[in-house]
Symmetry: C2
Subunit: 329 residues, 2 copies
């Protein structure tokens, strides 16, 4: 991206983000909430985040309808839904930090963290049902509730990887459930608010699904070979944590017994540095395969967008897809 | 109730319950769910329960429209919502048993129990949005999501009683949020499925709210002076557990310093028997006040029903209200 183009993209991103953040802040200051529930529910969501799901929703809506204001309650809802899943995931994964701040259960205790997630989840559906009319609301609720069913399925697979994530095929299933479904739902929600034409729903379901998987593979690559000064995580971090990411699973399926023995000295263990293990994955083609697959998904998403007329929202969405796969953090 | 009348009531109750149970069983056997998530999500709901919320929904619908079949997806949804809150509450309260079986987190671990609750909560909204048309679905989602916001508020108050439940006034607020709101939402949902006439919504919101509070006070009385052979809990059980129920709060507000000292030897503590403490509450008028208040709420609910034409559903609902306050378990 040229500088002026990048500036334009960042400015547009920021415009969407500021609008959503303002809307979320409005929700967080409503009356009638016990202070303990308010602070625990909004701690994480007000502490940062890229807001990528709301931005996808709003730019899809703008591409299809020419404006995005009508999408703000839905955009806030997908971010609330995402944060609900993060709060509960952090309890399950016993993570102490996220977005550079302490996780909700560490700060407020586990009971309030469970309740905070449940409360955000309730808000998802009360926002949608208060702000959209009959059939639009019904369709949004259906898409968002089915996505959250899928997130639960994906998280079940993720907490029991030895049972549910044994192969590259399992990986694609798990990633669709855990990450792809909500990104898909965000774009479909934009299409629903735009009027819900059947063709739009089909196209943006496809685009969202592909972006969601590309997004996760980008994360996988950053967790393996990202620049530590940018990701804040050491090289090989996902190897230390024993995560079954795409490059790792691909390489595992191709290792002989000796290579497996070597790899298992690093996988899920504390070991000085992980360069030897990273090189093993690279030599088995895992990194190359993951990168190629990611670009394929992103390219397919871009080619679906191609059939829509040019507009600044379309240009933005295309840049966003490129940003998702080329980001360095 | 005469014997024939009681038989008729029990038969009608069972008709509703069997229909809902069958519907829930259908949900529990759908394809595409990892076995661990299926068994943890449906363990509690398939292990029993009175199904009082679905029965209130279906009988309200039948009173207003003459039939109840259309209400089954909504009736299953309120029961799913109720069970979601129970699974998460049991984690927070560290309860090991419910309905005579081990709680979900004890059987499946805490992570799967959190996910099971989240999954049931997702199903609430996907069921409603798949089975009702535009405006009906929107109204149901709004009522159910606002009720679950309230349940979260009530549970926050309940886990921090020393901060949020200091007086009889606090009690009524907490009980409305924690118990009343979902019973209210169940009856309002019945009125929505019946066609959602404004007058119906208003009336059944009132009836539901009053029944909800009466229902909780009945629980309070059983937890204090219920027959141990029927409730399965010893006399004074709520005193042992330090629960701020209506008779206890009423009496506490009227105790002198010496009486408070005496009561605090029992309240929230392990102490052979609790007869002395129960008698103290009785002598301060706590039991009499709670019983009178419960009958007042139930009576007000019955008098709102009075204005509707006689029907077997109306007769059933009136009997149900009497059953709720006169039950012995």
């Amino acid at each position: 991206m040229e500088t002026s183009s990048r500036e334009w993209f960042q400015q547009k991103y920021s415009e969407y983000k500021v609008a959503v953040d303002k809307y979320i802040e409005g929700i967080s200051t409503r009356d009638g909430l016990p202070e303990d529930l308010r602070s625990s529910s909004f701690h994480l969501i007000l502490s940062g985040g890229k807001r990528i799901r709301p931005v996808l929703l709003l730019s899809t809506l703008e591409l299809l309808s020419g404006g995005y204001e009508d999408g703000l309650p839905a955009a806030a809802s997908v971010e609330l839904l995402h944060n609900f899943t993060l709060i509960h995931d952090d309890i399950m994964d016993r993570d102490d930090y996220r977005r550079g701040v302490k996780t909700t259960h560490v700060l407020f205790g586990e009971s309030l963290a469970i309740l905070a997630g449940d409360y955000l989840f309730s808000l998802v559906f009360s926002e949608v049902s208060r702000n959209y009319e009959g059939e639009t609301a019904r369709m949004l609720v259906r898409v968002l509730s089915e996505a959250s069913e899928k997130v639960c399925i994906g998280q079940t697979m993720d907490i029991m990887p030895e049972k549910y994530v044994k192969s590259v095929d399992d990986y694609f299933e798990m990633v669709y459930y855990k990450t792809g479904a909500l990104i898909e739902a965000s774009m479909v929600s934009g299409a629903i608010v735009a009027g819900g034409r059947e063709e739009w729903l089909r196209d943006f379901r496809e685009v969202g699904r592909k972006i969601g998987i590309a997004f996760q593979i980008a994360d996988d690559l950053l967790g393996l070979i990202g620049d530590p000064s940018k990701t804040g995580k050491p090289v090989g971090n996902d190897i230390r944590n024993g995560k079954r990411t795409l490059p790792i699973l691909y390489a595992l399926e191709r290792m002989g017994r000796d290579e497996l023995d070597l790899f298992n000295r690093y996988f899920g263990r504390e070991a000085g540095d992980y360069l030897e293990a990273v090189e093993l994955i690279r030599s088995k083609g895992g990194i190359e395969y993951a990168r190629r697959t990611m670009y394929e998904y992103a390219g397919e998403a871009l080619s679906i967008l191609d059939k829509y007329p040019d507009s600044s929202a379309k240009r933005f969405l295309s840049e966003l897809i490129r940003y998702i796969v080329d980001r360095d953090r």
